[in-house]
Symmetry: D3
Subunit: 208 residues, 6 copies
Amino acid sequence: MKKVSEIMTTDVATIPGSARVSDAVNLMRRKGIHTLIVDQSHEQDAYGIVTAFDIVAKVTATGRNPRQVRVYEIMTKPCLVLNPELGVEYAAKLMTSAGIHTAPIIQWNLLGILSVTDILNQGDFLENPQEDALAKQFQALLTTARATCKQNGAASDACRQAWDAVDAVEAEAAYQKAEILEKTAFEEFCEEYPEAFKDREYDTWCSG
Amino acid sequence: MKKVSEIMTTDVATIPGSARVSDAVNLMRRKGIHTLIVDQSHEQDAYGIVTAFDIVAKVTATGRNPRQVRVYEIMTKPCLVLNPELGVEYAAKLMTSAGIHTAPIIQWNLLGILSVTDILNQGDFLENPQEDALAKQFQALLTTARATCKQNGAASDACRQAWDAVDAVEAEAAYQKAEILEKTAFEEFCEEYPEAFKDREYDTWCSG
Amino acid sequence: MKKVSEIMTTDVATIPGSARVSDAVNLMRRKGIHTLIVDQSHEQDAYGIVTAFDIVAKVTATGRNPRQVRVYEIMTKPCLVLNPELGVEYAAKLMTSAGIHTAPIIQWNLLGILSVTDILNQGDFLENPQEDALAKQFQALLTTARATCKQNGAASDACRQAWDAVDAVEAEAAYQKAEILEKTAFEEFCEEYPEAFKDREYDTWCSG
Amino acid sequence: MKKVSEIMTTDVATIPGSARVSDAVNLMRRKGIHTLIVDQSHEQDAYGIVTAFDIVAKVTATGRNPRQVRVYEIMTKPCLVLNPELGVEYAAKLMTSAGIHTAPIIQWNLLGILSVTDILNQGDFLENPQEDALAKQFQALLTTARATCKQNGAASDACRQAWDAVDAVEAEAAYQKAEILEKTAFEEFCEEYPEAFKDREYDTWCSG
Amino acid sequence: MKKVSEIMTTDVATIPGSARVSDAVNLMRRKGIHTLIVDQSHEQDAYGIVTAFDIVAKVTATGRNPRQVRVYEIMTKPCLVLNPELGVEYAAKLMTSAGIHTAPIIQWNLLGILSVTDILNQGDFLENPQEDALAKQFQALLTTARATCKQNGAASDACRQAWDAVDAVEAEAAYQKAEILEKTAFEEFCEEYPEAFKDREYDTWCSG
Amino acid sequence: MKKVSEIMTTDVATIPGSARVSDAVNLMRRKGIHTLIVDQSHEQDAYGIVTAFDIVAKVTATGRNPRQVRVYEIMTKPCLVLNPELGVEYAAKLMTSAGIHTAPIIQWNLLGILSVTDILNQGDFLENPQEDALAKQFQALLTTARATCKQNGAASDACRQAWDAVDAVEAEAAYQKAEILEKTAFEEFCEEYPEAFKDREYDTWCSG
């Protein structure tokens, strides 16, 4: 899975909140873009965002004069921000479940901007669908876990950590497909080796 | 105010609902677009629409394989359609209040497609804000109404029709600005000429 | 499937946006209706709508005096409009997915109004459920397609058009039932006749 | 203000959750109604509701056969219920802010049903708008409070209770009109009689 | 299933709508709670509610001074109320489907308050999941119905009433699990005893 | 304004997505908390969250057995995350506008968790409302800007930067109060010194 930082646009246009909407329109038209970031006003401040949709919804649609409306009146602030390390598929979920088409990437500073169109054009979901990737990863981790536990014993810390990794990917894959897991691979392992891991904090597992 | 037909894009890409999402992605990437129209399956059928957002939200974000998902599984159908004669400002309101970025224009046939970006770039809301246009129109109609009623009498049909036009634009302008009208220009006229229009169907006006 | 024009109510009451809400209430009570259309103020203008729900929500519930509120303050404008040729089932989907109980039918002029109650009482979904109708239509089109291709050859335009019709109805039926199609009838045909249709614009089909 | 019990419809049609949607349609058509109540299945159970909108949205619009869908598949349960003693204006707010057109009235048993149309037709909001009623009530309570405190002393329980009543109505009126109160009538009183009520639980009032 | 009255908190803090938000904050902090009920202003009045979320959303997030905002400006009124007899599982559904974390319990008077946390901590859904309870209840009622009808005859009122009870619980269980019932237990019974119950108001059942 | 890191809870409980909901309930009950974080399954993975509300809404309310439902089936993933440096007021806005009661704080690692109750109890919005803080900051920056420009000249970079700071805070304050600025302090300055800053990228300012 690609990371957000690999496909984001790093050339980001910013505008002050006190600028007129007509300035925002001109800047967007000149640069051929539809999103501007509104900079922080001080260090603890949040970032804002203003899009073509905001302008069309709150100025054009209401007949207001764009020379008499300021950017802060129509911006969204604070706005959803993305972490550059996040996987593109997770960024896709975060943005679309919030109904958002574009989001800034911030880590200390403003690093870039990511749009749904960037994801469509530069994501690798066509060549490398996540469900296939997770299925492979699960198989690899499962093989490792069984080998590790054989070598170190079913009650060893190494065995336990290996199963934690299997568990996490198996749950993630089931979550993505909205599938129900009757029994996880680990739970099957527990039935074979009931002596394992009796001390988990969330306590019903391997309770045998 | 420009009409939708003046700024819409007439080169529209269509795709069957039975096509794979991978086909839709390839078509979008090749044409540099982010909206496809799904054609009617028979005459009374509605049009559907599929956007980059739909693909990112329902395929990328869920990790599904785009070669195994079909367009009809992720399209919106029926979709909001616009009339070619509609004013761009009204199209802006209709689209944005429904949270929609693109809509097809249909009159018997599919004529084109209109996006929020088209409105931003080609609307004339910067040069000719609707609130100014409505204010001018109101003044012109008001002058006409007063002249017409002087000439034809306050109880004449011509006078009545002239005031209907004033009323409509005055209400529209107040609606756009979310203003409250204590008394309309017509109601002021009524106080001067209480004999006018006693027979309106919605009956409290000029009740004197 | 019936068309919207077959079951709509053609006797529609209109009211100007400048009228008082008390006028709207009186008109509704006198006519025993709960929807009024607000006429266009000029040619490119949109239609508006005001319902009993709007009055109860925005005037009754807030304790305001209906003699001091005007219709334009509580109307919805522009409103969703329906095409008279649209099938009733599609109108049902368009209205209910927008949370709307009544919509005007417009083609150049205001032709009528359609409510959810009209659909309940006069639709033929009880006698003639669309899923049955689509299933029959699919069978008929499938028979035709196979015959046409036999007669004209698997690579003929006539064959191709016949399959387009099958495809469209099959996708529509699957869409209605939220079913997944592993393989369409056309794709099965492709396996028998791999020489067919290599040139589709959306290119994975019949790629053999 | 009228009470819900004064304008509700007491003739309510019920249907079991196990009935077919086609039965619900026939019952609605025969009785000329658009809401049915789904009875409790046991004493602690909630009531359900099924409306014409539910049928059109979940059966007609999706093309399903109403003879193969049961009422429980499309009903809303539990549903919002109203108290018979509630004022009609509050019922209006509760229903419309939840986007609901009809609600059952329940107190131990099912007493009736109230629709937005009932409120429009039988509410007295036209003759007796709540904002006028609250304004009168406020004046009367204010006169009483000042008289009571004069007679019993500013620190008396009777005075305190009288001001509680004034306060409640003043806040309610301001709430209805979305107005801000810089200083309440009671706070003005406090400035005149700073010895009053030092012991309120929410402690900044009359802190002088 | 427990009743709402068994797990609600009966010690409820109230505040007048005219109080300052700073008073509400201090009261919440002192009592370690996050919900206050706003009392009725007169008998037909509704109850209001103000929560920590309301304060954080409408005062903290907007930077307003809590000493200058009054409770009525940020409360929700009328608010959803629960019946003390309602089963906890139904209260859970009613609250969560409305997006609400806390609701007052009212019957004539304010009896208590119920929060999502109360349900989590004191509900018996862990020990006694409703799906198991309904399954047991269904089996018991089914046995009773078959016995009753054998004894009194398939066309007897006693038989009919017994089946109504079976039907109600079967539909409820299917509703909870979002399952489709091809044929209900009663419909199977009808096939065995087609003479039964020809006169139901919703008329397709046992039509044989 | 306090920072998120100053008031967040650093003792955060996590749970694997593959755990049973019954484990989550027991963990919450034992620790007296209502939010658990679901850890990443690999480095680019997002964090998930599961709350008491999720459990009550998706398990209790639907009658499902919590021993047969896993955490991943009811969690929200990816979830909104907060930056530790963000001001509490902005966190308040971000959380409440998304309808969220609790969010994790992440920077490379999971640092803590912040709830609406934390903000209510530990924010300093009561002692130090942001609108007062912004007003003071604006006055200080304004004084600085005027002094800087006097000293360095109206066309100097130092002057320009000083005004950028004024502008940002003035827009932020107006945004918070939803106020319209007819003319900003900077625009007034421009009228006095029209030679200033002709070259801004967003071009209408100081255009004289």
